[in-house]
Symmetry: C2
Subunit: 304 residues, 2 copies
């Protein structure tokens, strides 16, 4: 089973280049796929990475600049052509449903499945999604439009059975799920076998934080402290800090400073401005502050 694998579909910024697609990525959590942002061409990139469409039920849009959602009409359309029946849920700041409405209305008679829009307030951190395996919480960012990043936090799984002990005590299959969930076992003679003798602790859980687009915002540090993987925008090189500030973006050094202050395990920088041809320079700048930094690139896989 795949878990907490991040596939970058696009890590460019708004101006199109031949090097990068606009923002989009897919996080695999125990073989469920979650799309984060959906720039133009996301469906193409999704296919290129041979990701299965039927495992994608939730899309999280950080903000409503076109380079973060203009791939959505095409993706929704393609699902329809493929005869999808499962519901699709799109989470975003306020306004997306209204922009999508006339397109959805136009297609409505032909739709084979239902799309639900869930819009969140961007001012405070809120849990916007929860299922058995994870929660998704917003990370309020500061950009030219209302914007949030997303924290994907895996829930603790079940404990692992020690096969030999189960055999030793002849524990019937029907009890296994309870034991995985932490129950002790009572032998026919009344003796209690403590769960700790029958199981080992659950696998460690993972956390992934996506922070794009944003001005340098130290307030997010507490929300993302210690995450396994942080994707933080680094639209500008260190030299261009004034431009970054003006356009509500971050520099390489600022992204790395956030990673350092939050003591994350690994940083991936992306959302590169079209002006830079030498991205190794961007990487080296970030590494000067936070050594465990990697460059995002299309079709790259990162493990949280």
């Amino acid at each position: 089973m795949e878990n907490f694998k991040l596939t970058i579909l696009g890590c460019g910024s708004a101006k199109p280049t031949l090097k990068h697609f606009p923002s989009s990525q897919v996080l695999n959590v125990r073989d469920k796929l979650f799309m984060i942002d959906c720039g133009e061409g996301a469906q193409l990139q999704y296919c290129r990475n041979r990701l299965p469409f039927n495992r994608l039920n939730h899309i999280f849009i950080s903000h409503l600049h076109g380079d973060h959602w203009f791939g959505l009409p095409g993706l929704i359309s393609t699902f329809n052509l493929l005869g999808r029946t499962a519901e699709l849920h799109v989470h975003s700041p306020h306004g997306l449903e209204q922009m999508m409405k006339p397109i959805m209305d136009y297609c409505n008679n032909d739709m084979t499945y239902q799309v639900y829009f869930h819009e969140f307030d961007t001012h405070e951190s809120t849990m916007i999604f929860e299922d058995r395996t994870l929660t998704v919480t917003t990370i309020p960012l500061t950009h030219r439009l209302p914007t949030c990043g997303f924290l994907f936090k895996e829930k603790e799984g079940l404990r692992h059975i020690i096969r030999e002990m189960i055999d030793f005590y002849h524990i019937p299959l029907a009890y296994i799920n309870n034991i995985k969930a932490g129950a002790d076992f009572v032998l026919p003679n009344g003796e209690v076998i403590a769960n700790e003798r029958l199981t080992t602790p659950p696998s460690p859980t993972h956390r992934y934080a996506y922070c794009s687009d944003t001005i340098y915002k130290p307030e997010i540090v507490e929300l993302i402290r210690g995450v396994d993987l942080l994707y933080h925008e680094a639209t500008y090189a260190a030299d261009d800090e004034v431009k970054a500030q003006k356009h509500f973006h971050s520099t390489t050094l600022q992204a790395a400073q956030i990673a350092k202050d939050a003591q994350v395990k690994q940083l991936v920088i992306g959302h590169f401005s079209a002006r830079y041809t030498d991205e190794d320079k961007l990487l080296n700048e970030a590494k000067s502050v936070f050594s465990n930094t990697l460059l995002a690139d299309e079709n790259c896989l990162f493990k949280a």
Copy 2:
């Protein structure tokens, strides 16, 4: 000067493939660029072909299936990021402006230029654009939505000056434009020099017809008779005629039959269904009816 050169940006059909982009192409008429359809990724393909953004002022959308216009929001946005000031005109069947309106409204405060939507009726052939160099006339097609193809017809240019004769008669520069336009020249002694002695006829004019998407529709033959270049959809192979009919598309043989009946000079087939991996088979089928047939492909140039 480039003239009547057609660049294919995308010639796939609605289901995304890794081989083709959805429909979009650009016709160069005397260095003015006209975009025909604007599927997702059109702006990327436009850049890849190094076409200049500042020569594109008119976009013609054949119908409102997403694979023919979902690239438009991104393109309009990019023009804005680049600080465009020239008006952009988008011609389409009814309904596009309404679908684009909330997106345009959302961006409106930031727009550096004006976008005008011009919507046409798809029931009868109408001239929807005219300037000094060409006219664009709709070609009513039959598809699942109101759809038109487009006939681009170059206007006759000016006559060509015979330099030696101008020198011989010492004709002043100020008269040249009139002579190019067909005027005779009167010598100081009253002698009239007929225009035919001073000029050669204008260059031959060109015509390009775009017909996608459509069921086999012989009624269009008269509208496109003798064009230099015809792009006709051939979504399906000959074997799949029943499917073609059902989905209001054409087969290779039907596209070629239209080309043959209309006595066009050259046929380009495109809008290939994702089901065919061997497009040479499609080409050979079409060639069996109309030999001067070519396969469309991304980033290919065709000369009308």
